[in-house]
Amino acid sequence: MVSTPIHVIEAELLEDGAFCFDLPRFCSLLHCGEGEAVQLVRYGVIHPEGSGPQHWRFRSLDLYRARLSRRLARDLEIDLAGAALAVDLLERLRH
């Protein structure tokens, strides 16, 4: 009997805490332009390390916060400032 091969998906482990993504990589993971990433930083949704976009380094937590803020802004029809506040409060509630 020939068994059907199982397609095993390789998963990329996103390290907690480490500032490992530069801006182009972060934008590629978030599927966004640099302008959107700059806005997310400006409104305090994400907090990269480094001074200026060329030196920014992001954590996987930033990626999660950015995706969460997008969902909240879209689904609750709130602006980025409101989404940033909601993301902060949700994070506090979970810790």
């Binding site: 998906i9 390290e15 999660y64 995706r67 909240l72 609750l76």
Partner: protein
């Protein structure tokens, strides 16, 4: 299929104006948004809300929905009236942008009423004509694994309900089973990214990614803090007083550990690098055995006599 009462879902009267519908949606969305809500069935409730709002916020869709009349009851068996497709063609292709699609996949009821509208969006599906192309949305899910899986790495099947594109180009939700490789040394709460396993792209756009957050199942022997493991090590009073060599479980099997004479409850004994294994530049965790002195609840006469004798001759007085 079942009729959906979109007004009831949003909690508004049939005559509600656009502002009232928007306010009701926003209020209910705050309550049931899956990222915020702890309500049971929040995800299903939120999907219903999104669907109801998608229809009632759009004057053309709302007018078409209202044409069905007000005699229907939620959950009632529903078939679109004869000739419905012709009416639907009049909706045009507007108002259904990719960004509105959210998690994707509305109910069969919605699809039966508004499928023409989706199909008529030219270039929205299949990459032809209008050239609308969009990246599929990223999806989030979580998985529970055992500590042993985290320590050794494992392949695990996950069952997800994901958006997909049906044969007619409409979005729907379908069950998917994925086999994912869990890397060795993963920690509680860490996320895995599976490129291209999220919602499908539109018009030939790439799929979104799937993010999987890993949680540990409760373990009968260990608690976890970061990479360190904690085990309550039960010992007898005489082992605590005299010292002993006892077996301690680890994720790789039992090891023997020396209990120093004069140990007390709550004392921590460390087994270096017997916690979760290291990954990349992160070191392996340690295993801490927390001493718990356990006393026998039932003793025989001989034992009682010995304990009594010990009490009489001992000069140990911890309360002085």
């Amino acid at each position: 299929m079942e009729y959906k009462d979109y007004y009831k879902i949003l909690g508004v009267e049939r005559g509600a104006d656009a502002d009232a519908i928007k306010a009701a949606y926003r209020k209910m969305a705050r309550k049931y948004h899956p990222d915020v809500s702890k309500e049971a069935n929040a995800e299903d409730r939120f999907k219903d809300l999104q669907e109801a709002y998608e229809v009632l916020k759009d004057p053309e869709k709302r007018a078409a929905y209202d044409q069905l009349g007000s005699n229907w009851r939620a959950g009632q068996d529903f078939r679109p009236p004869p000739g419905w497709g012709g009416q639907a063609g009049g909706f045009g292709a507007g108002g259904f942008g990719g960004a509105d699609f959210g998690g994707g996949g509305f109910s069969d009821f919605f699809e039966s009423l508004f499928r023409q509208q989706h199909g008529g969006a030219g270039g929205f599906h299949g990459g032809g004509g209008g050239g609308f192309r969009s990246q599929g949305e990223d999806s989030e899910a979580s998985i529970q694994i055992s500590l042993e899986d985290a320590a050794q790495g494992a392949q695990r099947d996950i069952n997800l309900e994901m958006p997909s594109v049906g044969p007619n180009g409409q979005m729907r939700r379908e069950a998917r089973r994925l086999t994912v490789k869990i890397p060795k040394g993963i920690r509680e709460g860490q996320r895995l990214r599976m490129a291209g396993q999220g919602a499908p792209g539109m018009g030939g756009g790439p799929n979104g990614d799937l993010y999987l957050q890993v949680h540990f199942q409760p373990h009968p022997k260990f608690r976890v803090e970061g990479a360190d493991l904690y085990h309550d090590l039960h010992i007898t009073p005489w082992e605590a007083v005299l010292g002993a060599s006892v077996e301690v479980p680890t994720l790789e099997g039992s090891v023997r550990m020396k209990i120093p004479a004069g140990s007390s409850s709550g004392q921590k004994l460390r087994l270096a690098q017997k916690g979760l294994p290291g990954t990349g530049n992160k070191p392996a965790g340690d295993l801490y055995a927390i001493i718990q002195i356990v006393v026998p609840k039932h003793i025989g006469d001989d034992e009682k006599a010995l304990w009594t004798q010990l009490g009489e001759i001992s000069n140990f007085h911890p309360r002085r």
